[in-house]
C-alpha cells in the first residue's frame, strides 16, 4: 500500500509540516530543527536517521510536547488526526501524551524511576488516562509485561528497575508505552544501549506489536541496519533539515543525496570484501548555532566543488522530487546523482 493511495482521499494520521524548533541561548540561537515535514500513516513505520545533533530527537520530542515552551521556539504544525499539537494547551497535551502518543527512550535505566516498582510505574501511566481501580491497573500491568515477554510477569511486576536486566528494562519501558494502546509510538534509539541478540528480540517485539495493534511507529536511530529492518519510509536528517526522504528499500539501495551515500559507505558490513577501505565523511557535523551558508552539508560534501558558481555554498537547495518513485524527495543541487552513484558510490558499498 503506497502512501499516496491513502492520503489522497483523507488527511494523514500524523502530518508534520514545516516544523521548526529553535533554542535561544546566550551564545546564539540553536537551529535544532528547520522546516521539517513528513507524514506517518497508521500501521506504517517511519525511520528517522541522522548523526548526533541532526535534530532527530528534538523533532520527535516536539510531537510529545516535551519541550519547555519558555526555552524552545516552535513553529510549523504537527497535526495528529487533525489536532495541531503545536498549539494545544498543557492540559490537552497531557491527555494526549502517553495515551494517543507514547515514547520509548534510549536508556531504560535512567528513564525508569529507581524508587518505584515496575508495576507501579506502568499502573501510574494507566491510571493517568483511565478510570480504574489500582487492582485493575495492576492486572493491566501484568498483562502487558506478559505481552512484551517478561517471564513470570505476575511476580516480576513487583520488582524494581535494578532487578531487571537491560533488555528486560527496555521491555518494561515498551510495556509502559503500550499500556494505553497508543496509536503512535515514538522509539528514540530503542536498542542503542542493548546487545545485538537483545536488540533483535526488541525489534522483533516492536514489529509483532505493530502487526497486532496497527499503530504507527517512528523509529529514531543512527543505525542504518535497524532502519533497513524496521522502516517502510526513511527520513535522513542533517543539521536540522531533511535531506532525503522516501521508501526505505529505495533510499537504502540507491539514495541520491551525498550525505546518505556517505552514511552507507562509511559503515562496515558483514559481507563483501573486508579489505575494502571505509570511506568516511570528512570533517564533522556543523555547529547548529552557525550553520554553513547554502547547503549545510557543503563543507563536507566531496561533490560541491563540481557544481558551477559556488552554487552549494550560496544557495540552499530545495527539497525536490527525486528519481526513486513517488514521494522520494532530495535536497541537493547535483543534476546527475544517478551517474555519480553508479560510477563512484556503488563500487564502494558493493
Amino acid at each position: 500500500m503506497s502512501m499516496n493511495e491513502t492520503t489522497n482521499s483523507q488527511q494523514p494520521f500524523l502530518a508534520v509540516e514545516d516544523l521548526t524548533v529553535r533554542f535561544p541561548t546566550p551564545d546564539g540561537v540553536v537551529n535544532a530543527v528547520t522546516e521539517l515535514s513528513y507524514n506517518v500513516e497508521l500501521g506504517r513505520t517511519l525511520g528517522i536517521v541522522g548523526e548526533s545533533g541532526s535534530g532527530k530527537s528534538v523533532s520527535s520530542m516536539a510531537i510529545m510536547g516535551l519541550h519547555d515552551r519558555r526555552r524552545a521556539k516552535i513553529s510549523g504544525s504537527i497535526r495528529l488526526q487533525g489536532t495541531d499539537l503545536v498549539d494545544v494547551d498543557d492540559d490537552r497535551m497531557r491527555r494526549i501524551r502517553g495515551n494517543v502518543v507514547s515514547m520509548i527512550f534510549q536508556d531504560p535505566l535512567s528513564s525508569l524511576h529507581p524508587f518505584y516498582t515496575i508495576g507501579d510505574q506502568i499502573s501510574e501511566a494507566y491510571l493517568a488516562h483511565n478510570k480504574a481501580s489500582k487492582a485493575q491497573a495492576r492486572k493491566r500491568a501484568i498483562e502487558l509485561l506478559e505481552r512484551v515477554g517478561i517471564p513470570q510477569a505476575g511476580r516480576r511486576v513487583d520488582d524494581y528497575p535494578h532487578q531487571f536486566s537491560g533488555g528486560m528494562r527496555q521491555r518494561a519501558m515498551i510495556a509502559m508505552a503500550l499500556v494505553n494502546d497508543p496509536q503512535l509510538l515514538i522509539a528514540d534509539e530503542p536498542t542503542t544501549a542493548l546487545d545485538v541478540t537483545v536488540q533483535a528480540q526488541i525489534l522483533d517485539l516492536l514489529q509483532d506489536l505493530q502487526r497486532e495493534f496497527g499503530s504507527a511507529i517512528i523509529i529514531i536511530t543512527h543505525d542504518l541496519g535497524v532502519v533497513a529492518e524496521m522502516a517502510d519510509d526513511v527520513l535522513v536528517m542533517y543539521a536540522g533539515r531533511c535531506v532525503e526522504y522516501g521508501k526505505g528499500k529505495e533510499i537504502l539501495t540507491r539514495p541520491e543525496h551525498p550525505y546518505t551515500w556517505g552514511l552507507l559507505s562509511s559503515a562496515p558490513h558483514l559481507t563483501g570484501d573486508p579489505g575494502q577501505p571505509l570511506t568516511p565523511i570528512k570533517g564533522s557535523p556543523p555547529s547548529l548555532v552557525n550553520l554553513p551558508s547554502g547547503c549545510s552539508f557543503h563543507p563536507r560534501c566531496p561533490y560541491a566543488s563540481r557544481l558551477p558558481d559556488d552554487r552549494c555554498v550560496e544557495l540552499l537547495p530545495e527539497l525536490r522530487p527525486g528519481g526513486r518513485g513517488a514521494g522520494h524527495l532530495v535536497r541537493c543541487h547535483l543534476p546527475n546523482p544517478d551517474e555519480i552513484f553508479v560510477d563512484e558510490i556503488q563500487p564502494r558499498i558493493g
Binding site: A200, K249, P268, L278
Partner: protein, 378 residues
C-alpha cells in the same frame, strides 16, 4: 627466567629499558589459561567471601606480530576484563600472559614498568578517559616523560608530531579536551597510546561511542597506523561488522569463555558455534535487508546467566536450541577443526535454515515453560 633478570637490571638505569626479544617465531602476545575471578563479599563487619564472579575463566589466545585479534561478545562476557588483564590494569587470578615470551601476569609494578611502554590501551569513552583539567600537550607528553623517551626540551615537538600523525592540528597542544569533539578526543587518546611507540595496543571499543561517519575516520586512522608502525592490536568490540573490517582473526566470548576462534573468512561465513551463529544472525545489516527484507533469524531466549553461578558444562546450554544432556555434564573443550577454526561445542556444525526454526521453537517453548512454572509457583 633470563628475560626477567635482564629487564629488572635495565630498569635501574636511566636508559630506556629493553626487553628480551623472543625468537622470531614467538608470538607477540600469548595468553594461556587466563583466569580472573572477582570475589563477592557479604555485607556487614566481617566481609566474608561468599562467591566469585567468574569474569574470565580459562581462556587462551595469541596475537601475532603486526596483526590484530578481534575479541567480540556481548556485555558481561569478559572481553574488557581480558583487555585489562593483558595491560595489567587488573591482576590475573591465575594463568600466563606472555609478551614476547616473558610472562608478565605476576610481575611487580616496578618490573612491569618497561612492559607498560610496549603495551598501551585505548578506551571506549573519549569523554571520561581524558583528564578535563590537563591540556592535550600534557596528556600526550606525560607518557613521554614517564618513560624518558625524549629529553625534556623535545617533548613539545614530539607531541606536535604525534598530533599531526593522528590528524589533529599540531598548534592545538595547549587546548583542553573539552574543546574537542568526540572523534577528535578519540584521536587524542590514540596519540597518547602511540607516544611511547608500543608494540601492542589494546583497543577497548575504540569507535563505539562515535557517529558512523566519524567511526570510519578513526578506523581508517587505526589501520594506517598499524601499517605504518607495525603495531599489533587486541581489538575489543561488540560490533561484529567493525571487528570483521579490522581483524584478520576473531575470537568470540560468552560468559567468560572463548567459544570460537577462527580467521575472519571462516568465522563469518561458516560459524560453527550456536552462539556465534545467533550473534551473526541478530545483526541488522543494510545489505541483507536490501536483498530480501527480513531473514529467518535465530532467536535466543532469556538473558545471559549470572557469572557468579554459571551453568554447569557448557555455559551457553541454557539458551541453546541444540543442548542435550551431555552439555550439562561435560564442558566442551575448544577443539580445532580442519582449517584451524577452533570451536567449543559438542554439536559444532555450520548453520542451516533448520537452526533458525529450531531456535524459534525452543524460544517459544521456553516462554511457555516459564509461565507455567510461574502458575505452579503461585
Amino acid at each position: 627466567m633470563k628475560g626477567l633478570h635482564v629487564m629488572t637490571e635495565s630498569t635501574t638505569t636511566t636508559a630506556p629499558a629493553r626487553i628480551s626479544e623472543g625468537s622470531g617465531s614467538t608470538p607477540l602476545l600469548e595468553v594461556r589459561n587466563l583466569v580472573k575471578h572477582f570475589p563477592v563479599r557479604s555485607t556487614g563487619v566481617v566481609r566474608r567471601v561468599v562467591g566469585q564472579v567468574q569474569a574470565v575463566d580459562d581462556i587462551s589466545f595469541t596475537v601475532q606480530r603486526g596483526s590484530s585479534l578481534g575479541l567480540v561478545g556481548e556485555s558481561g562476557c569478559g572481553k574488557s576484563t581480558t583487555g585489562r588483564l593483558v595491560t595489567r590494569l587488573l591482576d590475573p587470578t591465575s594463568g600466563e600472559v606472555r609478551f614476547e615470551g616473558n610472562d608478565i601476569a605476576s610481575l611487580r609494578p616496578k618490573q612491569m614498568l618497561p612492559f607498560r611502554r610496549e603495551i598501551q590501551i585505548i578506551f571506549q569513552d573519549p569523554y571520561s578517559s581524558l583528564n578535563p583539567r590537563h591540556t592535550v600537550g600534557s596528556i600526550i607528553g606525560t607518557p613521554l616523560q614517564v618513560h624518558n623517551i625524549v629529553p625534556k626540551n623535545k617533548v613539545l615537538s614530539r607531541v606536535q608530531e604525534l598530533l599531526e600523525v593522528v590528524g589533529l592540528n599540531p598548534e592545538h597542544y595547549n587546548r583542553y579536551p573539552g574543546e574537542f569533539s568526540g572523534g577528535q578526543r578519540q584521536r587524542i587518546g590514540i596519540a597518547r597510546a602511540l607516544a611511547v611507540r608500543p608494540k601492542l595496543i589494546v583497543a577497548d571499543e575504540p569507535v563505539s561511542a562515535l557517529d558512523v561517519s566519524i567511526q570510519a575516520q578513526v578506523m581508517n586512522l587505526l589501520e594506517s597506523l598499524q601499517k605504518e608502525f607495525g603495531i599489533s592490536f587486541l581489538f575489543i568490540a561488540h560490533d561484529l561488522a567493525v571487528v570483521r573490517h579490522f581483524c584478520p582473526e576473531v575470537a568470540v566470548m560468552y560468559l567468560g569463555k572463548i567459544v570460537e576462534v577462527a580467521d575472519r573468512e571462516s568465522l563469518y561465513t561458516q560459524p560453527h558455534h550456536p552462539y556465534t551463529q545467533a550473534l551473526l544472525s541478530a545483526v541488522p545489516d543494510v545489505r541483507q535487508a536490501q536483498v530480501g527484507g527480513r531473514r529467518e533469524r535465530i532467536r535466543l531466549f532469556g538473558d545471559v546467566p549470572s557469572p557468579i553461578d554459571p551453568p554447569s558444562g557448557c555455559r551457553f546450554r541454557t539458551r541453546c536450541w541444540k543442548a542435550q544432556d551431555i552439555c550439562a555434564t561435560q564442558e566442551p573443550p575448544l577443539q580445532a577443526l580442519a582449517n584451524g577454526h577452533r570451536v567449543a561445542c559438542h554439536f559444532a556444525a555450520p548453520p542451516t535454515i533448520e537452526d533458525a526454526r529450531a531456535s524459534q521453537a525452543a524460544a517459544a517453548e521456553a516462554v511457555t515453560l516459564e509461565s507455567e512454572g510461574a502458575v505452579a509457583d503461585a
